[in-house]
């Protein structure tokens, strides 16, 4: 059983809301593994499952930001291990475009991240989520967040 890490926050402290896209075979499995290993994380992430990181359309990620996401994470299988051969390669290209766009648009660089987490990497998943949450806390609420959303 994993040790609990401090995740409690006071009601004044702002909690970011992060949208995370996970591929079914690796990253979603990694998220489950984190649960099975009881690796505690801040409750900031909302996972959306798709079959492959190649399915992660830039349109989804952009819409997530417009909806108010303080950070967007998308994760797939490690390079070379994609269940569908090379979906993660395509995700990498989309990521380059999104990153350049987000930078030019003036959103902080830290708000968008692409990572590779395999189904057995429960602890790593928890670390990625925790670290990303910390990063987002530092940059604060997204300037694109519409007024009044929670």
């Amino acid at each position: 059983m994993a040790e609990a890490t401090a995740t409690g926050t006071t009601s004044e402290e702002w909690q970011p809301k992060i949208v995370m896209f996970c591929c079914n075979w690796c990253s979603y499995g990694g998220a489950d593994s984190a649960g099975m290993g009881r690796f505690q994380q801040p409750p900031t992430v909302r996972v959306i499952r798709v079959m492959c990181s190649g399915r992660m359309d830039p349109m989804f990620i952009l819409n997530a930001f417009l909806e108010g996401a303080d950070g967007v994470l998308f994760s797939g299988c490690h390079i070379g291990d994609c269940h569908y051969v090379n979906g993660n390669y395509k995700a990498t290209i989309k990521y380059k475009f999104l990153k350049a766009m987000v930078n030019e648009l003036g959103l902080e660089d830290e708000r968008l991240k692409l990572d590779w987490i395999s189904a057995s990497e429960g602890e790593r998943y928890a670390n990625v989520v925790t670290e990303f949450t910390e990063q987002i806390k530092k940059v604060g609420p997204s300037p694109l967040k519409p007024e009044g959303v929670v």
Partner: protein, 685 residues
């Protein structure tokens, strides 16, 4: 076990192949044209969820969402009672969408889908919300945070479920031929089982003889049976089975198609002789003047340029290594049958098969590149395979284990286990307890043969896990084999060729310098080239350890992520002969489900195209790794042709398509966006 329980167990393990998803349910047809009527079932999972977040609050919240007409909190939704609640809810409230908020779809999606289907709701209009593995279990001390997150996730799931469409699964016919790639013990067993069941098997082996690694071992643990003696009859069984076509000295170069309909290209490498005429008499190898290191004998001992692979080879035919042939034609003169054919060309053959078993085996770890423990630097450090061939009566020294430096039989022999395994510098995995046992076996065999010898085994752990292994370990200790628990840190060589092993005996807490006449490295098992080749040809992923990945390590150990392709033996990870043999039979069993039924289901989450929106830009064509799309027609008639049977449901084409003409069923743009658009709510609503 009651029939009822067996039924649910079956659902848990696999999706039934031939249930008729096309069952038309009158009530369901009517429901489809109505508004979504959603039922949300929140599971407590005992205390796994209920102990860490407020399940009732989540259910109450769900009821406030548009189109949700019924909610229920259950203690164990997957249990009979929980499933009965779902079905009752469906009936009572005319539900046409079901959302279950509980563990993870990776365990129970099939369970609940089947439950819905029974009650008349299309299984693809069922949505799973993960509030355990990805919520209660990771926010165990944040009741509020976990509850808030669960509400968000349920809202997202409900939004998605509104847009889910009923999907049917179609099926394709399954060709009744079988391909087994690799004729080691796992592949041979699979081939025998398929053949005995009456199916036509193509057994493709890249070496000139079947038999694999087992043919090279001396004895096998724990019984110390002579390896080739027990393997030989199996090889003959393969040869005699009328349904098995042995394609030796051949390789699979390409596989196209999909489950039930694979098109395989096999390259038959030329032996440079007519195999119908060659009798395997060996006269050619007697006269051949070219001497080369014998791969079969681990490069101790020689073979000729034209050679019989080994005395028990099946097929018993010679093979000419043309790269090393000097063209003297002595073999042609010596061959009484007149079988030599110098101008043979490679032949490509195309086969159609319905299912494939991949049993391409493994390699032994090679300590040469890093000179592990002095291998390659000091003469008297050898690997286990080299030791096996020395020990073997049919080997290069007639069964005498001798030192490479002076050909003297050693008195003191040491074995180091975990060479290349459990090592951050090499491979971190354990080679399945194989090396522990073969070192024990080899020490014991030499000790029994020459009682004057002394043996040391340097180990970290002894993994004598399977039947008879612990007894073998005890026998070795009784014989006087000394076990030193410690990983040697320094290997040095004396002038006379002796090897000094410096090691901490961790049980005694002492440093020892052990002088040996011969050091044998217990080299682990590593992935071979065949694994990478078949991995890319068949699009099978590999795990971090480099071996092929099975579909599920516990519940589906011989299936792969590619339908119709199964993996057996060491290709899927280090293991011993018994396990590999069992695996081979297992693949025959799993594959025959498809063969005997004669059809395979194509899942419903495939790509669909809206031709009205499609502008035939062709971006999807290159993106699809399975070749599902192509542009057909000319000029104004051009359109994209979609071969749905090839589609594996990844969805990368949908992302690529700029117009949105391509959609992936069950993961359509609007369905995913519905989740994105329900992560947030306006405060106070």
């Amino acid at each position: 076990m009651a029939e009822h329980d067996l039924y649910h167990l079956k659902k848990l393990i696999t999706t039934p192949l031939y249930e008729n998803y096309n069952l038309v349910n009158e009530r369901r047809t009517i429901m489809e044209s109505e508004e979504p009527r959603i039922g949300v079932f929140v599971c407590e999972c005992g205390v796994n969820i209920g102990g860490y977040l407020d399940t009732q609050a989540v259910a109450d919240y769900a009821l406030t969402l548009p189109n949700v007409v019924h909610t229920k909190v259950n203690k164990f939704t997957c249990a009979d009672s929980g499933q009965a609640e779902i079905q009752a809810g469906i009936k009572e409230h005319n539900l046409n969408r079901v959302v279950v908020a509980s563990c993870t779809p990776r365990t129970h999606e099939p369970t609940f889908r089947a439950c819905c289907k029974e009650a008349g709701v299309n299984p693809y209009q069922f949505e799973f919300v993960n509030i355990r593995d990805q919520c209660s279990w990771i926010h165990m001390w944040d009741w509020e945070g976990a509850t808030a997150k669960a509400k968000d996730l349920v809202r997202m799931g409900v939004a998605r479920s509104r847009l889910l469409e009923p999907l049917e699964e179609s099926s394709v016919p399954v060709d009744q031929n079988v391909l087994v790639i690799g004729a080691g013990v796992a592949g041979m067993q699979a081939a025998i089982d398929f053949g005995d069941m009456g199916y036509n098997v193509y057994l493709v082996e890249k070496e000139p003889s079947i038999g694999g690694r087992m043919a090279r071992f001396d004895k096998v643990f724990p019984t110390n049976d002579c390896s080739i003696c027990i393997l030989g009859p199996k090889m003959v069984e393969v040869a005699r089975n009328k349904n098995i076509n042995i394609m030796s000295y051949s390789e699979v170069t390409d596989v196209d198609g999909f489950v039930g309909n694979f098109e395989v290209t096999v390259l038959h490498k030329p032996r440079y002789l007519d195999t119908d005429i060659c009798t395997g008499c060996g006269a050619c190898q007697e006269v051949c003047p070219v001497e080369l290191p014998s791969e079969f004998n681990e490069n101790f001992g020689i073979r000729k340029a034209i050679y019989i692979p080994f005395p028990q080879a099946v097929p018993m035919r010679a093979v000419l290594d043309k790269d090393n042939c000097i063209g003297c034609k002595a073999c042609e003169k010596a061959c009484e049958a007149g079988a030599i054919r110098y101008d043979q060309e490679p032949i490509y053959e195309k086969l159609k098969v319905g299912v494939i078993t991949v049993a391409v085996g493994m390699d032994a770890f090679d300590p040469l590149p890093h000179n592990n423990y002095g291998y390659g630097l000091y003469d008297n450090v050898i690997t286990t395979m080299e030791f096996e061939r020395l020990l073997n009566a049919a080997g290069p020294t007639g069964g005498h284990v001798v030192r490479p430096s002076d050909a003297v039989e050693p008195i003191t022999v040491g074995f180091i286990n975990c060479v290349g395994s459990r090592d951050v510098n090499e491979n971190i995995y354990c080679s399945g307890g194989v090396c522990c046992m073969f070192s024990i076996k080899n020490a014991q065999l030499l000790k029994e043969k020459r009682p004057e010898t002394n043996h040391y085994i340097f180990y970290m752990d002894i993994r004598s896990t399977m039947r008879g292994f612990e007894e073998a370990y005890n026998r070795a200790r009784d014989l006087g084999v000394k076990f030193i628990r410690g990983k040697p840190v320094e290997i040095t060589e004396k002038e006379n060729g002796n090897i000094i092993v410096r090691v901490e005996d961790t049980l005694k807490g002492e440093i020892a310098n052990v002088e040996l006449d011969l050091l044998v490295l217990g080299t682990g098992l590593v992935p071979n080239e065949g694994i990478s080749e078949m991995g890319s040809i068949l699009k099978l992923p590999r795990s971090a350890d480099g071996f092929l990945t099975e579909l599920h390590p516990k519940l589906a150990p011989v299936d792969t992520t590619t339908d119709g392709v199964f993996v057996a033996g060491c290709a899927a990870g280090p293991r011993d002969i018994a396990y590999a043999t069992a695996h081979g039979s297992a693949t025959a069993g799993r594959a025959t489900r498809l063969l005997s039924v004669g059809s395979a289901p194509i899942m419903g989450i495939t790509a669909r195209i809206d031709e009205d929106k499609c502008v035939v830009c062709g971006v999807c064509v290159d993106k699809c790794p399975y070749g599902v799309f192509e542009i057909v027609g000319t000029n104004g008639d051009r359109r994209i042709n979609v071969v749905e049977a090839l589609c594996k449901g990844c969805g990368t084409c949908v992302t690529a398509c700029p117009t949105g003409a391509l959609e992936q069923s069950h993961f359509k743009n609007d369905q995913v966006l519905a989740q994105v658009r329900n992560v947030f709510q306006y405060g106070g609503e």
